[in-house]
Each structure stands twice: as C-alpha cells, then as structure tokens.
Amino acid sequence: MLIKVKNLKKEYKTDEIVTKILHGLSFEIEKGEFVAIMGPSGSGKSTLMHIMGLLDSPTKGEYFLNDKNVTSLNDAESAIIRNEQIGFVFQSFNLLPRTTVLENVKLPLTYSKDKKNHDKKAKDILNRVGLGHRLGYHSNQISGGEKQRVAIARALVNNPSVLFADEPTGNLDSKSGIQIMEILQRLNKEGNTIIVVTHETFTAEHAKRIIKIKDGIIEDDSPVKKQRIAKEGSILK
C-alpha cells in the first residue's frame, strides 16, 4: 500500500476561533494509480494534498506512506521524505528566477544524499518531458507549458514514489494544458503514481479514479468509467 489515510482531521486555530478544514478522511491509494482529488475551492483538497505531501501535518488521524507512519515527523525527517519519495508540481510552476532549466531540475538533487550524476539525471528526465533542447534557457525565457514541464521534470528527478500535481493546468492555455495531461498520463503508464488536485471535472477525468471532496469530507470515491485520453486536438475547458 502506497498511501493509507486514516480518519484524517485538520483544523486551524486563530485566536479563539477554530476552523475545521478536514473532518476525518480515510482512503487508500495503491502504487501505480492515477487519482484526481476533486472539489470546489475551500473544500480542503489543497490542505489534504499538503498533508499527504508532508508540507503540513494533520490535527488528528494517521497517515502511512509506503507502510510507514509519517504522521508526526520532525522537520529533518519529513524533509528527507519530501526529497526522496514525493514530487510536487504547482499551479504557478515555482521555478527559481534567473536560473537555467537544468539548474531548476537539479534543485532537489542538491538536498539529496546521492551526490553523483546530477547533470545526467536532470538531462535524462528533461528529455523525457521533451525539453532536452532547453537545458541552458533561463526560466523566464520559456513558455508557460514548458515551465510546467520543467516543474514536472524537477518533481521526478529524484524518482519519487508519488507525484502530487496541484492544479497543474490552472495557469495554462488549453493546448499547453493538454500537453501536461498527456505527459502525466504517459508517466502513469510508465508506472508512476500520480495524484492530481483540481476543481475541473474535465481535468479530473484524465485520471483513473476520482476522490470528490466537499466541505472536508469525501463525497464520492470511484473509478473513472471512461478515462479521457489527452492528445493534441482534444480540448481542455
């Protein structure tokens, strides 16, 4: 079992007011799945992703990653897991400015224990997302779609167990969005576990399973009956 979430709760306290975001979620995700976590804004889907990505910790409940309880790790321990087992793709790309494509992709490797072949690993993964010709470009010299592909390459460079994508097509035009979904589907086919967080049904339907969240609870969790296959020409709403 790759991911196991048990009765996960999250609440924020500001002064005396307690805001409950997640009300006890439980689900499991197997290795190799392509899951969309879908819900309107404010539903708690991003908070859930942050907790699963060890960027945030739950108030209650347990979270197992690769059969290891990672609910309450300290900063250094969770940093290692984020580095080795988790890849992130963000809506706004979050590339380092004034830095080349290659350097951006190498960034996670600088925090890795493995000190060898950084260049080769980064170049290989950039080739896989079709950016082998952009290695020396600065992050502000490439298009939005290319930026997101750099971000995907960066997320995958350490060969993580799971890739989290938070609204990966949110800042892109439909053509670039399709390309990103196409890459994600291909990576899934190659064996990568992918979890996309989105509010769009269309994007979610590119996954194999959709977990719908509303007001902090799971509204529905079922496989996609007919998975959309992203290819040039299909339109992303």
Partner: protein, 417 residues
C-alpha cells in the same frame, strides 16, 4: 562536506550577481567600515613611526633633567611654561662627577632664550643656547669651521659664539663669519665657529641657533642664575635606570632633600625612552579611538545588511517554500541565507581591505613626497580584524533573517504572494 560548502558559496555568489546593484549597496557599508579601519590603523602606525623615528634620533641613551617635580607619567611642570629656578649650574657639575654618577659619559647644561642677532646691517631673530662644553659629546653635531668654546671660556664669561648653519647663512650669506663680531642683545660676541648643518629633529631645528658659554648666557645676556635643563649621555642603554637613580640621589643631595621617595623633589629626571613611552601612549589612544569610529561604521554597515537580508527573505518566501517542498530542511535554508550574508560581508571586507591598503599607500607616498620619513605600515592585525569583523557582522546580522527564513512554514511560504 567541503564540496557542499563550496557549492553553497557559489550559489550565494550567483544570487549576489543576479542583483548586482543591491549587493553592492549592501556591501558598501562594510567596504567603508573596513577601509576606514585599515586606513586609520595604517595612518596611525605611519604617524607613530614618524614621531618615534624623530625622537629616537635624539638618542635613547639620553637622560634629561628638568626643574620642578612631576608625576611619573605626566609632563613636568616646567613643560607648561612656568619658570622654575631650582636647577643650578652646580647641579650639572655635580652630575658630571664620576663619584656621583659613574655611568654618565658627559653632561650638558642649558639656559635658552630668544634674541635678535646683528652683524653689520644684517639682523636675525634666533634661539640662543647657553650651554656647557658637554654639548657636542652629549648631543652630537660637528663643528664645520673654527672651534667650539673651551672649558675655560665656559666659566670666565668669554663673549664667544658658535653659529648654527642657518644663522650663519642669514647673517653672513657666503662671506666669512669666523673671527667677525656679532651683537646679541647689544652685547658684542666673537664668532669662533660654525656648526655643520644637521636639520630638524623632533621638531627642534638644530641649525637655527647660536651657542654661547652658559655662564655668559646667564650673567650677561639673560641675567639669571638657574638652568633650563640638563641633559646627560649614559654609557650603555642598559645602565639608564641605574644612572637615573644615581642622578636623583645626587640632585637630592645638592638640594638638601632628605626624602628619598621623590615626593619632595624639585626636579624631574627622565629618559628619552620614558618620553617615547608617553608619546606612544598618546598616539595609541588616538589610534584606537579612530579605529573604534571605523568599527562604528562597520556596525552601521551590519545593520544595513540585516535590513537587506530581511527584504531578501520576504521577497524570496516562495523560493523558500519551494526549496522546502523539494527536500530542504530548516538547517539547509538557514545555512543558505547565512552563507549569503557572510559571503556579502566577506566580499565587502576584502574589497574594503584592498581599498584601505591602496588609500594608505597613496597617503604614505604623498607624505614621503612631501619629505616626511613616513613608513607604509599595514599591520597584519588590521587585515585580520577587517576580515574577522566583517565575517562576524555577517554572522550576527545575517542570523536573524536566516532564522526567520528557516522557520517559515512550507505551506505558508508556498502560498505567499
């Protein structure tokens, strides 16, 4: 580890280069501070060497006796312009006796004044030094022409004068002076010798004076019977302390002072070395005060760095969030920002050292050009201090912003707009 260290320094330099103007402005405070410290230390050392060299040419084997008591470290009362009449010709004679002070080579007594000197229609204002024959043995100097006065002339009120080279030039120009008669305060003197040119040492112009026998000076020219000072030459430098003690005892005996503690002394015996120490204390104090001002500039520079670093951290909040998301822990982030701060300050420190050394060099060259015997001294300490202080400034003022960066919550940082 070393590689990681080099990598993070390289990354810092990259970040700094990405923002050249801001990095330079950040460094400016440090550059000015370090350069100021270096220049002040160098100028202080140069000036000190200049003064010390001048004083040393007077001879460290000399001991001076001045009228009036003084504290051990303070200047003698007579230096304040108060006339004290306790020192007599007989004191000099007593000091010159081997029985009293065996370590003295010779003794010279002085009674000085200023007067107008005339020859034919030329007149010139100069210093009149009434001295004993011990002048040349104690103070050095050579007679260029003619002779110095004799022991007999010293006591029998002879009206003879030995001219310093400047005085000879001013009065006689190129014409012969030895054998001519000049007038000092209307008293007629025969010129019996001309001193060789010697220059100015320790602010004293050796050439702009006339030497006459001390008794003549006291009785005929000034109408006094006390001495301005006595100077003595000690045989070996290591005997100075013993000689001073002997001299004090002799003078107490001469003046009927029974208290050997020195409290009742009406004279001050002091070696040139002691005078040197005093000058060194004063110049050192000045130097450290100025260096402290430089350090203040460094402090201000440090606060500037903290400011910029804080701006830097909030500007790069998203970057920090991302770095944490891809596996950086708090320590990595702390080190990254601390390295940047230290790199900026050390770079500033190095530039400051270069600027400071160059300016000090220009000052030294300028001073030498103007004829001062100015040494170009960069003490290794000022370099160590420059780098050390700037690195500490980097650490101290970089730590707070770096800690702030490290403790950012990744989620908060990623959400930051």
């Amino acid at each position: 580890m070393l590689k990681a260290c080099c990598q993070s320094i390289l990354n810092s330099i990259k970040t700094l280069l990405a923002n050249k103007v801001r990095s330079f402005l950040t460094m400016l405070g440090i550059i000015i501070g370090v350069a100021a410290v270096i220049i002040i230390m160098a100028v202080g050392a140069g000036a000190q060497s200049l003064i010390l060299a001048q004083v040393k040419t007077l001879g460290t084997d000399k001991v001076g006796v001045l009228p009036g008591n003084s504290d051990d470290d303070g200047p003698p009362t007579s230096a304040m312009g108060i006339v004290i009449t306790t020192l007599k010709y007989e004191d000099a004679l007593a000091l010159n006796k081997k029985i009293n002070v065996p370590n003295l080579v010779d003794v010279v007594a002085y009674s000085k004044g200023v007067a107008t000197v005339t020859w034919e229609n030329h007149s010139y204002d100069t210093n009149i030094s009434g001295t004993t024959v011990g002048y040349i043995p104690v103070e050095g100097g050579e007679v260029a022409k003619g002779r110095f006065f004799s022991e007999e002339e010293e006591t029998n009120l002879s009206r003879v004068a030995v001219l310093g080279s400047t005085v000879k030039e001013e009065l006689f120009g190129d014409s012969e002076a030895v054998g001519k008669r000049i007038k000092i305060k209307k008293h007629s003197f025969e010129v019996i010798g001309i001193m060789k040119e010697r220059g100015t040492v320790a602010l004293q112009d050796y050439d702009d004076q006339i030497f006459i026998p001390i008794k003549t000076m006291q009785k005929i020219v000034e109408g006094v019977d006390h001495l301005g000072m006595i100077r003595a030459k000690v045989d070996y430098e290591e005997n100075i302390d013993k000689a001073i003690d002997d001299m004090k005892m002799t003078l107490r005996d001469q003046h009927d002072i029974s208290n050997q503690s020195g409290e009742d002394d009406d004279f001050t015996v002091r070696s040139a070395a002691q005078a040197l120490d005093m000058i060194t204390i004063v110049t050192n104090a000045l130097k450290y005060f100025l260096a402290a001002m430089g350090a203040l500039a460094l402090l201000v520079g440090g606060i500037g760095i903290m400011n910029i670093m804080l701006v830097n951290v909030s500007e790069r909040t998203k970057e920090i969030g991302l770095r944490k998301a891809v596996g950086a822990n708090n320590k990595n982030i702390l080190l990254q920002f601390l390295t940047e701060a230290i790199t900026v300050t050390i770079l500033g420190g190095v530039i400051g050292i270069i600027v400071g050394v160059l300016i000090s060099l220009v000052i030294a060259i300028g001073a030498n050009f103007l004829g001062y015997d100015w040494e170009f001294i960069i003490s290794p300490w000022s370099i160590v201090m420059g780098v050390g202080v700037s690195a500490s400034v980097g650490i101290i003022f970089g730590l707070y912003p770096a800690r702030k960066a490290a403790l950012l919550e990744p989620v908060e940082a990623l959400r930051y707009e």
